[in-house]
């Protein structure tokens, strides 16, 4: 896994008059082994860039997941812990509660987060755990051979929905970000996409905002990144990007659902204000307990 050359660890000495037009982020340690056209490489790079720009690399702990991104710890030069399938949000809860002064994030795919890990992500969000979740949604189980996920589009053919996803028997795509945005513990929730350079820029901005929200101790932060799986989708990389920009975006609208610090939040069944009226302002143990 680590036999690849280290390419991100030093800057090239520039010739006189030269200028840097491209540099690998220092936190990106190895070239990835993802398929051509897969979005994970883009998201990894953005995570590395954001953590580097915020100068967080030395105090960040990555909580990995199971799926194509299981080897994220081979590509990002960060302390990392692997989780059982779907359990990243619980693992991250344990890490962050014990080390509230560190920056903690999960990196999960849609099979991991939106199927087997639904209980863990909902309750971590409900508790307002102060970590960040990067949820890469490509609508399919890539690692295991392209099976249907809860996020698969209606009609989409996968190896476990060979006739296309039939909502009568398998339901509709799970709108994770919309669902979680109803919870008062969620301080930031956005859905972004890697379908174009412009959208990649917005994705980076969302990731940066999510980590800032964590640093400010505001609660749970979530960035859902719509991404591609050309092999699983049976498309060329170019076709996959076009599909992402059109059909996928039509089902999963982009935007910032929650940014409480900026007053962006949907109406909730029970608002934080109503809860405060009953119990007074909530005090987080990390704000009172001595540092671990």
């Amino acid at each position: 896994m680590t036999s690849q050359p280290q390419t991100g660890d030093q800057d090239v000495q520039l010739a006189e008059g030269g200028r840097t037009v491209y540099r690998r982020p220092l936190l990106l340690s190895n070239p990835t082994s993802y398929c051509p056209g897969c979005g994970h490489g883009i998201v990894h790079r953005l995570v590395a860039e954001v953590l580097e720009e915020l100068d967080l690399g030395h105090r960040t702990i990555l909580v990995g997941s199971v799926g194509c991104s299981v080897f994220a710890y081979d590509y990002l030069a960060l302390d990392a812990v692997e989780s059982p399938h779907g359990r990243a949000a619980a693992v991250a809860t344990g890490v962050k509660r014990y080390r509230p002064d560190k920056v903690v994030f999960t990196y999960q795919g849609d099979g991991d987060l939106a199927a087997i890990g639904t209980a863990e992500i909902i309750h971590a969000a409900a508790r307002g755990e102060r970590f960040t979740t990067i949820f890469v949604n490509n609508g399919i189980y890539g690692m295991t051979g392209g099976q249907m996920a809860p996020t698969t589009l209606v009609g989409q053919r996968t190896t476990s929905s060979p006739l296309g996803r039939n909502p009568a028997t398998t339901g509709y795509p799970l709108p994770v970000t919309e669902m979680l945005s109803l919870l008062p513990g969620v301080a930031y929730a956005a859905r972004v996409s890697v379908a174009s350079p412009m959208l990649v820029g917005k994705t980076k901005a969302a990731l940066k905002r999510a980590f800032e929200v964590q640093l400010e101790g505001r609660g749970f932060s979530l960035v859902e990144v719509l991404s591609t799986c050309p092999v699983g989708w049976g498309m060329t990389p170019t076709e996959a990007m076009e599909h992402l920009a059109t059909d996928v975006a039509a089902v999963y609208p982009l935007g910032t659902w929650v940014d409480r610090a900026k007053g962006v939040a949907p109406a909730m069944p029970l608002t934080m204000e109503a809860a405060k009226a009953v119990a007074g302002p909530a005090v987080h143990p990390a704000d009172t307990a001595p540092e671990a």
């Binding site: 896994m1 690399g57 030395h58 105090r59 960040t60 702990i61 909580v63 990995g64 299981v70 710890y73 030069a77 960060l78 302390d79 990392a80 812990v81 692997e82 989780s83 059982p84 359990r87 619980a90 693992v91 991250a92 809860t93 344990g94 890490v95 962050k96 509660r97 014990y98 080390r99 560190k102 920056v103 209980a119 863990e120 909902i122 309750h123 508790r127 143990p285 307990a289 001595p290 671990a292």
Partner: protein, 383 residues
Amino acid sequence: MTVAQPTRTTQPTLIASPPGTGGEASPLPQRILMKGNEAMAEAAIAAGCDAYFGYPITPQAELLEWMARRMPEEGRVFVQAESELAAINMALGAAAAGARVLVSSSSPGISLMAEGMSYMAGSRLPVVLINVMRGGPGLGSIGAAQGDYLQATKGHGHGDYRVPVLGPSSIAEAIDLVREAFAIAERYRTPVILLADGILGQAMEPVSPNFEALAPSTPDWTLDGADGREPRVVKSLHLRPEDLERHDIALQAVYEEIEANEIRWAGEELADAEIILVAYGTAARVSRTAVQRARAQGLRAGLFRPISLWPFPAAALREASAGARAVVAVEMSAGQLVEDVRLAIEGKVPVFHHGRMGGMVPTPDGVVGAMRQAWAVTDGGAA
């Protein structure tokens, strides 16, 4: 890090007071009455537990409740998880970050923790798991039982791993074994199971209030952000078979070390015993009474009480029973412990089983009856 003195397999170890006495070393006025679940929780706090994760289930709920109040008082981590599945994975995360972690549950919840225990074993993460066993299978009953013996000692989750298992038989002993469990977990970087039962969890007994601390350990593998050092990865995935086999061989070497160093057992009236009872936990409490009644009736009975259930004190039991006429495993399960007894004795002495299930507890007279029957159907040739 302080660790109990390793014991030779041929010497009995009295970790605490004998079963049924609950701390006779301290004079009465210095003892306090504590419920087992609460005593185990407070023992963990005294031992320096940094983080606790749990989920309500009878008959261990008081442990969770005690921690809910006490851990925040100590400025430590308490989370009531959404499931036992989540609880064990929170433990995984906290342990990877360097915390001394306790989780507790009862039988059905322990089954849900099997996945996390396998990952923690594979990732070499220490944790102490208390199982306050209840009746099974399935939802079973909330009565005390020992039906998780094989789950704890032979398997639990998937893959080639072992977990040290300690079986206290009094609340005073449970207090000591909680601290021992943390020491073993950190010394070998492994999960450790404390196998209690519903009676030990629910009963109240006098205990010495001076719970001992365990010195903090300073491991060099925990995650705190790669500041000025190479990043660390805590994981159980080794995709290349060559790599995984190397990892598995290293794990087995750790287990051999545990088998060599962490055998614990206690014996009573073994020297001249014709019939030897083998029992742990609450069943050992009943067996102790049965031994006294049998002796009063002229039957030379003795009790061999394994405290470490894995590693099982096989050599010690084989030696202790060498001159006996028969051995009877007494358990609150359908013949689980008896499998280890048979493996230990290697056919040298006839082995019998006496057990109740479903939350029913063997009675002393029932155990005496089992001893008499064992005596009657054996000829004493081995004696």
